[in-house]
Symmetry: C2
Subunit: 195 residues, 2 copies
DNA sequence: CTTAACAAACTGAACGTTCGGTACAAAATA
DNA sequence: TATTTTGTACCGAACGTTCAGTTTGTTAAG
């Protein structure tokens, strides 16, 4: 059970709690009962704040999306573009572990679980990934940072690949239960830009 | 409804049919009814061949695993290691599309959906990924193929990253519904080895 | 200061549905 | 004959959802 912090709104508490459950278990393997048990919010009250399980899921995605890009904006100040990306990724993962939760990417999970079966979810997920790529693309372009081994690769293509490496790396870490796998992948991103 | 081919065993037909459903919808979002409808096999008969839904899921994974590594073994003959990996990945994806099915990786899906909640699944998934990395590692080492931009990166680390890029690329393609995203990622793998 | 009024927040039992799985006789196949 | 397949009916558990009713906090009148 995750205690509700003083001053925290019930709705927010449900969102934060559910986010961690969704990262660990996915949407379809998470029941309303799971959310109730973990948050301490009673069933009736939960349905007072949300109309349906789907609405909770979408709200969690939106909430996490906002937090993610805020965080990305912060961590993009100073340092080289690729260092920023790597650092931000490590920081998010570290925070998850700090709270004893399964490390993973909510958006990546949702992408594979929902993007073909629920267009409400797929819309949000698509938005997250394309904006993520855009931001990295923009920062690579702005910094004029070239790929160390092939300057013909466009910033956009590199940005896509960086996101793919991160998502793939998170997946591998999850399977092996060893964060070193993600770190290895992030190291290669660094090496790609000669860092 | 997927028609059963002549001479095909019912058990095999269930496995192949279910595989495509699982790639598209995942395990928890797939019901026994879905499998029955898609395969044409009646409920009683399905439970004559399998004891439970979990057993079907595991059998599908094992079946796909065997097919995957057979295919990888074939495609590894001739050509450079990284070309083989890229070609095999493209071929599998193309075949899925040919059958009008959602392109995706069964193992990647299962990794994010099940690896934390079901240890039977996680064991198989872990086996697939570690063997996949091993095989690429082995072929890189055997061919003495170095990373074009940093020869200090070990073959194993590179192999891990290649798998991560592929899985991440599949995820991105799935979200964008554009195979170009996966192709872009594969192109970067090629570029990493100066091809 | 007390009290009435009201909306927002919350409760928990109960609902209808769907799920995975069972039972088993009859029919088909080999 | 032994194995495999069909058909239908059924079960209990778990699911997401509803709802009549209770509590709480705020506001304003008496």
């Amino acid at each position: 059970m995750i205690q509700m912090k003083k001053g925290e709104k019930t709705r927010d508490h449900i969102l934060k709690t559910t986010r961690f459950i969704l990262v660990a278990n996915g949407f379809h393997n998470t029941t309303i009962s799971d959310i109730i048990k973990a948050s301490g919010v009673k069933k009736g009250n939960l349905y007072y704040h949300f109309a349906s399980k789907e609405e909770i899921g979408l709200a969690v995605l939106e909430d996490a999306k906002e937090e993610f890009f805020n965080f990305l904006g912060q961590s993009f100040q100073g340092k080289s573009p690729c260092a920023k990306v790597i650092n931000s990724c490590q920081a998010i993962f570290a925070e998850q572990k700090k709270n004893n939760f399964v490390g993973g990417c909510l958006f990546g999970n949702a992408a594979l679980e929902m993007s073909d079966s629920n267009h409400h979810f797929s819309k949000v997920i698509h938005g997250v990934f394309s904006r993520w790529v855009e931001e990295i693309d923009g920062h690579l372009t702005l910094a004029g940072e070239d790929c160390s081994f092939n300057s013909n690769l466009s910033p956009r293509l590199l940005a896509k690949t960086i996101v793919a490496i991160i998502e793939g790396g998170i997946m591998m870490s999850r399977v092996s239960k060893d964060q070193a796998d993600l770190d290895d992948c992030l190291a290669v991103i660094g090496a790609m830009f000669g860092e």
